[in-house]
Symmetry: C2
Subunit: 208 residues, 2 copies
C-alpha cells in the first residue's frame, strides 16, 4: 500500500534547496557542485538524486526563483520606451549567465512544468501582452494582432537574441556581442509591432 510521505522528506528537500540557493548566490549557476550541495545540506549524494532527477532540475528551480525576483518588478509597459526597456531587462535576465539560456531552452517546454520556469515565461508573456493590449487600444501599435500572440513573439525574439549573444568569456568583446543582439531584438520587435517602420522605433528610443 502507498503511505503518506514521512515528515523528514520535506525537511531534507528544503535543506538541499537552501544549500543550493546559497551556493548559487556565491558562485553562480555554473559553479554549483552536487558534492558541495550535499555537504552543506549534510546528506549523502544519493539523497540528492532521490529528490531531483538530475542537477539541472534543481538549477531550473533556482533559476525560476531568480528570474521571478528580477522580472516581478517590471511595470506593464504603456509606451514604446517602456516596452523597449522591459525587453532589455528581460533580455539581460535571460542571458546574464550562459547557463541560464541553456536551462530556459531545456525547461521552457512541457519538461519544465512544476519547476516554475514555465510560469516565469508565462508571466513575462502575459506582461507584454497586457501592455500591448493597452497600447493597441490606444492605437500605438499596428492593429489586428492578438496581444497574447504578439507577446509570445517578443519572447521568441528574446531567446533568439540571447542565443545570438552567446560568446565564450575569453574571446572577443562580450558587450559588443550583447549590444549587437540587442539591436537585432529591437529591430525584430519593430517589424512585428510597427511593420514598415523599423527605423522609427530606434529613433524614438534614442531620444529618451
Amino acid at each position: 500500500m502507498t503511505r503518506k510521505p514521512q515528515a523528514r522528506t520535506a525537511q531534507t528537500r528544503d535543506r538541499l534547496v537552501a544549500a543550493a540557493r546559497d551556493i548559487v548566490a556565491e558562485t553562480g549557476l555554473a559553479g554549483l557542485r552536487t558534492e558541495a550541495v550535499v555537504a552543506r545540506a549534510a546528506t549523502a549524494k544519493g539523497t540528492f538524486f532521490a529528490h531531483f532527477p538530475d542537477k539541472d532540475h534543481l538549477l531550473a528551480l533556482l533559476l525560476a526563483e531568480i528570474l521571478r525576483a528580477e522580472v516581478a518588478q517590471l511595470a506593464v509597459p504603456a509606451s514604446r520606451e517602456q516596452l523597449a526597456d522591459n525587453l532589455d531587462r528581460v533580455f539581460a535576465a535571460f542571458s546574464s549567465e550562459p547557463e541560464r539560456l541553456t536551462l530556459l531552452v531545456r525547461f521552457s517546454g512541457p519538461v519544465g512544468v512544476g519547476l516554475g520556469i514555465d510560469e516565469v515565461i508565462h508571466d513575462v508573456i502575459a506582461g507584454f501582452a497586457g501592455g500591448l493590449a493597452g497600447m493597441q487600444a490606444r492605437g500605438m501599435i499596428a492593429p489586428g494582432g492578438d496581444p497574447a500572440l504578439l507577446g509570445e513573439g517578443l519572447v521568441a525574439f528574446l531567446f533568439h537574441a540571447a542565443a545570438s549573444a552567446q560568446c565564450p568569456l575569453t574571446t572577443m568583446d562580450k558587450d559588443a556581442a550583447r549590444r549587437r543582439a540587442q539591436v537585432l531584438l529591437h529591430r525584430l520587435t519593430d517589424a512585428l509591432l510597427w511593420p514598415g517602420t523599423e527605423s522609427a522605433g530606434k529613433a524614438a528610443r534614442s531620444g529618451g
Copy 2:
C-alpha cells in the same frame, strides 16, 4: 619559431571526424562517446582534445553537415504554402533530436564561427529572405518589412517553437507537443508576415 603543420595532423583529424560521423549515424548525436570515437579512429583520448576544444565542438561540426544535407534541398518558397512547408521542414531538422537544439543555441552565436552552424543558419535565413523578397514584390505579404529581417524573425520563431516542443521521451505524447509547437510557429509567422490575418493562413494551409 612556428613551423608548418605536419602532414599527419590532417589525417588524424579526418580519422576522428570520420569515426564520429559513423557513430552519430548509428546512435544519434546523444549516443556519441569520446572513448568510442578514439577507439574507432585508433588514437588516444588526449589526441581528441588536441584537435577539438570539447566534444560539443565536434558534434556541432557534424550537426552542421547533417543540417546542410537536410536543408539544402529546400526550394526558395514562392507561395504561402511553400513557405509553411519549408518552416515545417526546418523545424523538424532543428528539433528531431533534443541535442540538436542545445547545440544550435550554444553555437549559433559568435562561438560557432568556423564550425558551420553559423553558415547553416545564415543559409536558412537567406532562403526565407529570398522567398519573402519575391513574395513581397508580388504583394503576397505585408509590405514595408526588410526581407532579411523577416527571415531572421522566422528563424527566431523556429527556435522558440522547437524549445516549446522539448519533451522527455518518457512522459506525454511527443507528437502532441510537437504539433502544438508547430501551430504556434505558424500563428507567429502569420502575425509577422500577414498582420491581422492569423487564421487566414491556417485556413489556406489546411486546404492544401
